[in-house]
């Protein structure tokens, strides 16, 4: 798979601090790529470097393998974190203005806008003034004009902030639909559940550094803490004697079904098989599953520096 964007050793300094410190990312074509990180980590700066709004002090950005140029910018749709629209303009007129700036003909822009307005259920906003829109409403309008010209690369900075759960869900569906139509999507977020749902790849930035990059499923599996959930039928003391190689973290016995659920931690990968077979010999084992950490866990552990490889 080729990479649509490669950022190499990006460093960006401001007066008071370094916003990005030797950050490299590779964004595969056709992926949904999440940029994660605590507030002030440098996500927005990285986005601005990628779409040429800010010039990095060191490093370079490649678009389709070649250093990015102004022409490439027209193939990028960008939704900034701080939304801005001309307050006095009417919604429809404004959307049309931005759509035409991106190179669509008036007719084409109108057709596409009507289609999008209908799909997001905001047809009757066309003649409203921008200043009368709520934050979420304005954001929907801005989302539409970002994607309208069907750019190859879409960059959303905090797309879910300001949306209620229903609209956030709607937005996720649209993002996936755009990916299926061939676009590559980069977005920054704090919303970890959305990361698990729609991202293929992530980069975690903390304190101006890239501390974790890769495919979401790989990251989650490789950062399993060897914690397992088991269910069995049998005697508690026999179970505890058999589980010498594991640390029992939780223990629940259900009187009605006679089933016991437990959460255990096995120190080393090498001991997993023997630990399980020991338990299996002692009690009637019903199920055995590894608990894969959520992105939320990984995020917190990574940021706190307690993430182990």
């Amino acid at each position: 798979m080729s990479n649509i964007i490669i950022a190499e050793h990006i460093t960006k300094r401001f007066t008071e601090h370094t916003a990005l410190d030797d950050v490299s990312v590779e964004i595969p074509t056709g992926s949904v790529y999440g940029l994660l990180g605590p507030n002030g980590a440098g996500k927005t700066t990285l986005i601005r470097v990628i779409n040429r709004i800010t010039i990095p002090d060191e490093g370079r950005v490649l678009f389709d393998g070649k250093p990015i140029t102004q022409q490439d910018i027209y193939r990028i749709g960008y939704l900034p974190e701080e939304r801005g629209l001309y307050k006095k303009m009417k919604v429809g007129e404004h959307a049309l203005f931005l759509a035409r700036l991106k190179g669509l003909s008036r007719h084409e822009a109108l057709v596409r806008l009507k289609e999008w307005f209908t799909r997001l259920g905001i047809e009757d906003w066309w003649d409203k003034r921008v200043e009368d829109l709520s934050k979420g409403m304005a954001q929907k309008v801005q989302f539409i004009v970002t994607v309208l010209h069907e750019p190859r690369l879409l960059i959303f900075d905090e797309p879910f902030s300001g949306f209620d759960p229903i609209n956030a869900e709607l937005l996720k569906t649209e993002i996936l639909r755009l990916r299926d139509k061939g676009a590559t999507v980069i977005f920054s977020t704090h919303n970890m559940s959305s990361v698990e749902e729609i991202c293929d790849h992530i980069t975690l930035i903390n304190k101006s550094k890239n501390i974790l990059s890769g495919r979401v499923d790989e990251i989650r599996h490789s950062h399993g803490n060897n914690i397992f959930s088991i269910q069995f039928r049998g005697n508690e003391s026999e179970f505890r004697q058999s589980a010498t190689m594991a640390e029992i973290m939780e223990y629940n016995h259900d009187q009605i079904t006679g089933l016991t659920t437990a959460k255990i931690h096995i120190e080393s990968n090498d001991n997993v098989r023997s630990a399980i077979s020991a338990i299996n010999n002692a009690v009637e084992l019903r199920s055995f599953t590894e608990i894969i950490p959520s992105m939320n866990d990984i995020f917190i552990r990574a940021v706190n520096g307690t993430l182990t490889e």
Binding site: Y74, G84, M89, L98, L101
Partner: protein
């Protein structure tokens, strides 16, 4: 180019459809008309009652010759005593008493005005002028000259210099440099007026854009140069619309007023001159030839269209250049308050140019003036004064090229500042940074 067009249209629509714009555009000429008739109106309404002045004339020469008018009326008292008259004057509710001494002709200071209320400059001047004239005539009389009045009339002279351009290519056009210079100065002021108003509109709108965050969307969509150029041209189009509407309104209004103001005989001479009559012949007939040639040249459409056309080119160029400078200021600050001190240096060349413009009248071809009419920051205003007096075409072309090239360059600079200024976060750009930005 397409994007510039779109931005121009947006800027134009946003401003022209504003209620405040429509109202000021329509009301301003009315207001101007009101202001121009205001003095007359005030005169009509402010006219007080006629002031009564009792005159005690011990010389017996002056009192009879004093002429009463709407302001004052003089009542001559015979054999009156000043002290008594002063008392009775108070009771009679008069304006006051004028005392003229016996030896007024030889001693012009022997004249006093006693007023019952506060005096009025207008009346004092009126009396002084009249008495002066009377004494002058009395003194002349003492020489016993015959035909005194005829001699005086013959001596009276009023020079009006007719100037001709000694052109080698075209027929000599009677050009009154005074009239043309007035056109130039008026256009210069119009330019200044629109610069100050619309320049700050450009600046404000850029600052607003930075604060409303729309710029991040725009910067990731269009080139900053297109952005700036569109904004400046859009606002310029608004200014042009306003000028055209005002011009039309003023012309239609004055179409009814001006013919009524010009005396018929002058109008006839103007038409005669346009028809090819000889100026010198006309001078003999006692018509004010300076006035006639000036008016003829104003009304000579071919000549005036050419000059106005050139002046407009300079005016538009000057407007665009200064608007671009305002744009650069807007791009480099975050708040309107910060912009204040940065706009001051912009207005200095304009004021300097106005000072030069007043010198153009004396000598349109002095080296300082020629240089100032080439330097883009002063040329729009200085050329306003120079063009009507006639200068070589190459100078005009060179000056225009310099002006418009500087404008485009300034827009480019403003665009760069805009781009760099956006996300600097208080970091002062070093020269190295600036260089890299210019290349990016």
């Amino acid at each position: 180019m397409r994007n510039i067009g779109l931005i121009i249209m947006r800027e134009f629509k946003e401003r022209v459809y504003k209620k405040s714009f429509i109202i000021t555009t329509l009301l301003m000429p009315l207001l101007l008309a009101l202001v121009s008739v205001a003095p007359t109106l005030i005169m009509i309404f402010a006219k007080g009652e006629t002031k009564q002045i009792s005159v005690i004339d011990n010389s017996g020469i002056v009192a009879d010759k004093l002429e009463s008018n709407e302001e004052v009326s003089f009542i001559t008292l015979v054999n009156a005593d000043l002290q008594q008259e002063l008392k009775s004057s108070l009771e009679k509710d008069e304006f006051g008493v004028l005392y003229i001494g016996e030896d007024i002709v030889t001693n012009p200071n022997n004249i006093q005005l006693y007023t019952n209320t506060s005096s009025s400059m207008l009346i004092e001047d009126n009396i002084a002028d009249q008495v002066e004239q009377i004494i002058k005539n009395e003194r002349l009389k003492e020489y016993n000259l015959e035909n005194l009045q005829q001699i005086l009339d013959k001596v009276e002279v009023d020079i009006s210099l007719s100037t001709f351009r000694n052109g080698d290519d075209e027929q000599s056009t009677a050009s009154s440099s005074a009239a043309s210079s007035i056109v130039g100065i008026i256009l210069g002021f119009v330019l200044y007026f629109f610069l100050v108003i619309y320049g700050s509109i450009v600046m404000q709108s850029i600052i607003e854009e930075k604060n409303s965050r729309i710029l991040e969307v725009l910067v990731s969509t269009v080139r900053p140069f297109d952005m700036m150029m569109g904004k400046i041209l859009g606002v310029a189009a608004v200014a042009a619309t306003q000028i055209i509407v005002w011009g039309l309104l003023i012309v239609t209004m004055s179409a009814f007023v001006i013919p009524a103001l010009i005396p018929d005989d002058i109008m006839a001479s103007v038409e005669a001159l346009q028809a090819g009559a000889d100026v010198t012949a006309m001078a003999a007939s006692g018509v004010d030839t300076g006035m006639v040639t000036a008016m003829a040249s104003i009304m000579d459409t071919g000549y005036i269209a050419q000059i106005i056309g050139l002046l407009l080119l300079f005016m538009v160029g000057g407007f665009l250049l200064y608007a671009a400078m305002y744009a650069a200021v807007g791009a480099s600050v975050d708040e309107a308050q910060d912009a204040q001190q940065l706009t001051t240096p912009i207005t200095i060349p304009i004021i300097f140019a106005f000072i030069i413009l007043t010198m153009v009248m004396n000598d349109p071809n002095s080296p300082l003036i020629v240089w100032c009419s080439m330097i883009p920051f002063t040329s729009p205003i200085v050329m306003m004064g120079r063009i009507p007096s006639g200068i070589p075409t190459w100078e005009i072309v060179l000056s225009l090229v310099l002006l418009y090239a500087t404008f485009v360059f300034m827009v480019w600079i403003a665009g760069k500042i805009y781009r760099v200024g956006i996300f600097m976060h208080g970091k002062k750009p070093s020269f190295k940074d600036l260089y890299r930005w210019l290349k990016y």
